[in-house]
Amino acid sequence: MEDLDGRWRDLNRLLARPGNIVGPGFEPQDEWIEFLQHQVRVLCVGAGGLGCELLKDLALSGFGNIDVIDLDTIDVSNLNRQFLFRMKDVGKSKAKVAAERVMERVQGVTVTPHFCRIEEKDRDFYEEFHLILLGLDSLEARRYMNQIACSFLEFDEDGKPDLSTIKPMIDGGTEGLKGHARVILPGITPCFDCTLWLFPPQTKFPLCTLAETPRSPAHCIEYVHLIQWPQEKGGEEFDSDDDTHMQWVYQQALKRAQQYGIQGVTLQLTQGVVKNIIPAIASTNAVVAAACTLEALKLVTLCSTGMNNYMMYVGTDGIYTHTAQYERDTQCLVCGAGVPMQVSPTATLQEVIDTLKESPALGGRHLRRPSISSGSSNLYMHGPLEESTRPNLRKTISSLVDGDGSILQVNDPGLAGPMRVSLQFRQS
């Protein structure tokens, strides 16, 4: 191995010199590099446009132990921005190729790839990491990771978050020339579910428009995709990655458009509509990933003041950024100290569980086999403890918990993480 003494000279200046604009309690020291290289474990979720940039930035910020998870394989259309991939890599796992390339280039870093869905890893896997960075392109995946990160959070008796249980998460997102970076400290800054309104709803066309009054090329394409394919292709599942499927939709949509005298159906538009393609370029990903990585470095070392808590970036007309301080939703089901639920103190545990299941506001429809605990005592558990806790179902709730305001913890296979419910006793 070459002599790389002095490799971290520049980074070390940032970490070893005292400053006036730094995080609270920043301790400038040479040992930070060693700490980043060997002690900290970070997880990068996604090895796409943002993921490639994040991995490079993390490795060059001194992080020595990085894991990356992505279920996707490399496509030609990735190559205009996912700079760790080459034409010869098309078809291979993004996570694996990305990990290899970063390790080739930055000596001493360990990047461990996981070629699978995020749902395939259990909570223990995610618990290992000090910090999670997200480079995702869907709200569903973000919400899943959000439930995971928030599931580690614990509160004290006063409803204050226990700081040692916070699993920090940094999220990046891009769409064309726009993007955002945000820092999620569960219990401190808003989680995804606190600010779902930030994600605009997707445009969906009414089915009757598609079937009866198509007016645009997109209407013709969606008709073929959503209505004609299932009708004519029997049970064959539509695969948007199969060129022959896409071609069929394109040709049929073209026919339909001609029938109605509508212009503008192209293969490019067909792909865009069917796959809901989001335009993407290298530089937006670079900017957003850099902002995310810098926040990661600051969270670990406190070498500069952190972002609070959401930055938007717009590169359409010149360059514009704005940082906003969003507020937590104290009633949030995912990161809240406990969602209030009114119950009678004389209700049995079984009745409380039934109320829970029937309550849409408490996400009851997701519950399949809820296990309930309060503090350290198991009230009713599925699995090996079922038999021993079953008698509790007939006891009154007030005899099982400490009293008004007690927190019930609900675990269920239908939830990615535990849900907290704050009991509000009302006299019946």
Binding site: R13, G91, P279, S304
Partner: protein
């Protein structure tokens, strides 16, 4: 999961009819999408074929290939520029491996420009790379003709006196210049060229000018051809909102005079007209999607999109007012467009021809679309007439600007832009600098920190000129440089008659603390490109 991206080489030899049939089905009926279009698909959806063509004709020169330069060029190479040349005389040192991803340990001690070029070339086989192992400032002194072959120069990590020289040269050669700097956790980006004219500026919040408030005869005739009172239920709930709004506006004028609704009460009265036309059951209006859309879009009547300030600036720019034989096509077109606006356009821009989707039957929507398209055609023809006269007046052939260019210009008339930049030399010289703007920026709470950093990034260059080093470059006593840098900055403020009170001491300290460090994530942040 099945994925097919490349034509497969392992298909069996075509020996049976079955295979031929299969191949026919697979390849013959499928229009071939070129590999290039698939590779660039996600960006083509932003800037289109025309934007891509401009990018693919760019020849870029990068001065200094530290992380700032390497990351910037990386993003351009991925996008598909024609060619690049890297200029740097440095050898790779260990600290370069800690912040530059376009180097690896095998390059230690060797030419930085060469190694960055090699690794950049790997990113896109369509891009040709080359390098010159020389110092940019020397090259600028000894061989200015070197820059002639480029369309864009990206100067990174260069100090102010060199940038001023480079800008002079680039302006005289009409080469675009981007000046990029990253300095610790701070960075700056400056675009410089005399003038940039833009046809497709792709604004974010464009509202089509549908002329509900001022329909032309054919549009009004079409709108009035539908009698809502006698329409059957199907037609009633499928009459596009454009027609509802044009009819409502006509009725408004009949009852309220020539002014459009201004205040909340009048706007409500206008919406009441629409609501009074809705079909009812037991006097309760039934839900009709087209009426909901009409009420939502009534603001397009109250505040019709006029000609934006930026388009006005193009139309009445001195270059559009005074054409001469050397005028560029853009300015000749702008003059013809102004002739249209002041003539048959009656103060309006030409109709674009496209309309947004609205609840309607297919037939009614397409008929409405045709009314707009026909008008767009006629408007384009009118501009063409003005263009021919304008071209003739400066001694050019009437067909010198082709129909396609004209059509594109007219279609994008609402988003024309001209941008001009001030020269750095003018910006910084005490005689020409805008001290009032700087004073205001330093005094305003929202801009004070940025203005202070702007000044400090210039002050470190002045410091470098004075001391032959940057502040904070020695590890031992870096804080000794804080008062030195501050006195330089105070001196610069005094030169333009400003007091030193606006300087934030913590920021001075921060700039010194960061010394000359370049952090890759910051370098990436400044790597944004626009073209």
């Amino acid at each position: 999961m099945r994925r097919r991206s490349e034509p497969r080489e392992d298909l069996p030899h075509v020996t049976s009819r079955r295979w031929i049939a299969l191949l026919d089905k697979r390849t013959l009926s499928i229009p071939h999408v070129p590999l290039r279009d698939r590779k660039y698909d996600r960006q083509l959806r932003i800037w289109g074929a025309h934007g891509q063509q401009l990018l693919e004709s760019s020849r870029v020169c990068l001065l200094h290939c530290g992380p700032t330069g390497s990351e910037t060029l990386k993003n351009l190479v991925l996008g598909g520029i024609a060619a690049f040349t890297v200029v740097d005389d440095a050898k790779v040192q260990p600290h370069d491996l800690g912040n530059n991803f376009l180097l690896d340990s095998s390059s230690l001690g060797k030419s930085k420009a060469q190694h960055v070029t090699t690794l950049l070339e790997e990113l896109n086989e369509s891009v040709a790379g080359s390098f010159v192992e020389e110092s940019p400032s020397t090259l600028l002194e000894t061989n200015p003709d070197f820059f002639l072959s480029f369309t864009l120069v990206i100067a990174t990590q260069m100090i102010e006196p060199d940038v001023i020289k480079l800008e002079d040269l680039c302006h005289s050669l009409e080469i675009k210049l981007l000046v990029v700097r990253s300095y610790g956790l701070v960075g700056s980006l400056r675009a410089s060229l005399q003038e940039q004219t833009v046809i497709e500026s792709k604004p974010d919040n464009h509202v089509e000018n549908l002329r509900f408030h001022k329909p032309w005869r054919e549009l009004e005739d079409f709108a009035m051809s539908i009698d809502l009172a006698t329409a059957d239920d199907i037609l009633h709930k499928h009459t596009p909102y454009a027609i509802l709004l044009i009819q409502a506006t006509k009725q408004w004028h009949a009852t309220h005079g020539p002014e459009l609704p201004q205040n909340a009460r009048e706007k409500q009265a206008y919406r009441d007209i629409l609501q009074s036309w809705q079909r009812r059951i037991d006097d309760v209006p039934i839900e009709e999607e087209n009426f909901t859309e009409a009420i939502e879009n009534s603001r397009k009547v109250f505040a019709p999109p006029g000609i934006g300030r930026e388009v006005q600036m193009v139309l009445y720019d001195p270059k559009a007012m005074e054409l001469d034989p050397r005028s560029s096509d853009f300015w000749v077109l702008a003059a013809a467009l102004r002739d249209f606006v002041e003539g048959e356009g009656e103060g309006c821009l030409p109709i674009e021809g496209s309309i947004p989707d609205m609840w309607a039957t297919t037939e009614l929507f397409l008929a409405l679309q045709r009314v707009y398209r026909d008008k767009a055609e006629r408007d384009t023809a009118a501009v063409r007439g003005h263009l021919a006269r304008r071209l003739a007046s400066i001694g050019r052939d009437a067909a010198a600007i082709d129909a396609k260019t004209l059509r594109n210009f007219v279609k994008h008339a609402h988003c024309l832009r001209v941008v001009r930049w001030r020269r750095l030399a003018q910006e910084v010289a005490p005689g020409t600098c805008d001290a009032a703007a700087l004073r205001q920026a330093l005094g305003d709470e929202d801009t004070a920190a940025n203005a202070c950093l702007y000044l400090l990034l210039r002050a470190v260059d002045r410091f470098h000129t004075l001391h032959a080093r940057f502040p904070g470059c020695y590890d031992g006593e870096f804080e000794d440089d804080v008062p030195l840098l501050k006195s330089v900055a105070v001196g610069m403020l005094a030169e333009v008659g400003l007091a030193s009170g606006a300087l934030v001491d913590d920021l001075v300290h921060e700039v010194v603390r960061c010394g000359t460090l370049v952090y890759n994530a910051m370098a990436s942040t400044t790597s944004v490109f626009q073209f």
